[in-house]
Symmetry: C2
Subunit: 134 residues, 2 copies
Amino acid sequence: MNERVETPGNGNVFSENCPTRQVLDRLADKWSMLIMNRLRTEPVRFNQLRRDIEGISQKVLSQTLKKLERDGLIHRQVFASVPITVEYSLTKLGQTLSQTIQALSHWAEHNIETVLAAQKQYDNLAKQREARLG
Amino acid sequence: MNERVETPGNGNVFSENCPTRQVLDRLADKWSMLIMNRLRTEPVRFNQLRRDIEGISQKVLSQTLKKLERDGLIHRQVFASVPITVEYSLTKLGQTLSQTIQALSHWAEHNIETVLAAQKQYDNLAKQREARLG
DNA sequence: CGGGATCCTCAGGGATACTG
DNA sequence: CAGTATCCCTGAGGATCCCG
């Protein structure tokens, strides 16, 4: 465990190589969290994922899965059936992460309306200001 | 374009307009969560943020802050000092979100070593396989 | 100090075709 | 079914200059 140096009362600084940055750099893309979230309850096969994660392309799905597997977050199991079958599931490590991702998902469900309302209000105010300036 | 009809029922499907997707689309970039996290403990000024969030450009910081403000997650307060001072802080809504982001940050700190180890192992296995075929 | 406006790049990611 | 291989393009984001 390497203790991070945090300036006492002053909030932490986000140096390029702090753990949060490293993890966020891998998770903060369009799809990783969605995939993790989809795998949370059960193993899922490739094309099932492709169908469930609406809008993802086959290439990006493949890439992202490989990345997540490399990070030790998901497990890839091949069944020598005909035709071949591949199941993706969360590892123990991935399960712990999926907890916090699920929290984010819950936050989203509970607060999306508030966010959308805030956007509308912001846009209205912006429009008014615009009109005033001509 | 391709209007997918969502199959009702089994499991949760991630349609393009589900709340999780909408929120993730706004948060899942390189900087939003880091900024939210930096603002968690105290209001911070523009250039202070720029210095603390290592590597972010002025333009992107500005863009991201505006986006977060539009979403009702952060508040922008201007002080008519000379020269001008601007403080960014979390709104109530932003505070609730920052909780779960902090959870992600904690996960990162606790598990980054495991992730890095998994990567090494994955790369080694890949290299071995490559050698066997080469 | 806190940005806005421009220009430019480079990689994320879409579309399509092919394979074991 | 579960991917790989290419081609291509858009847009996130960096660099730079400017301004109240």
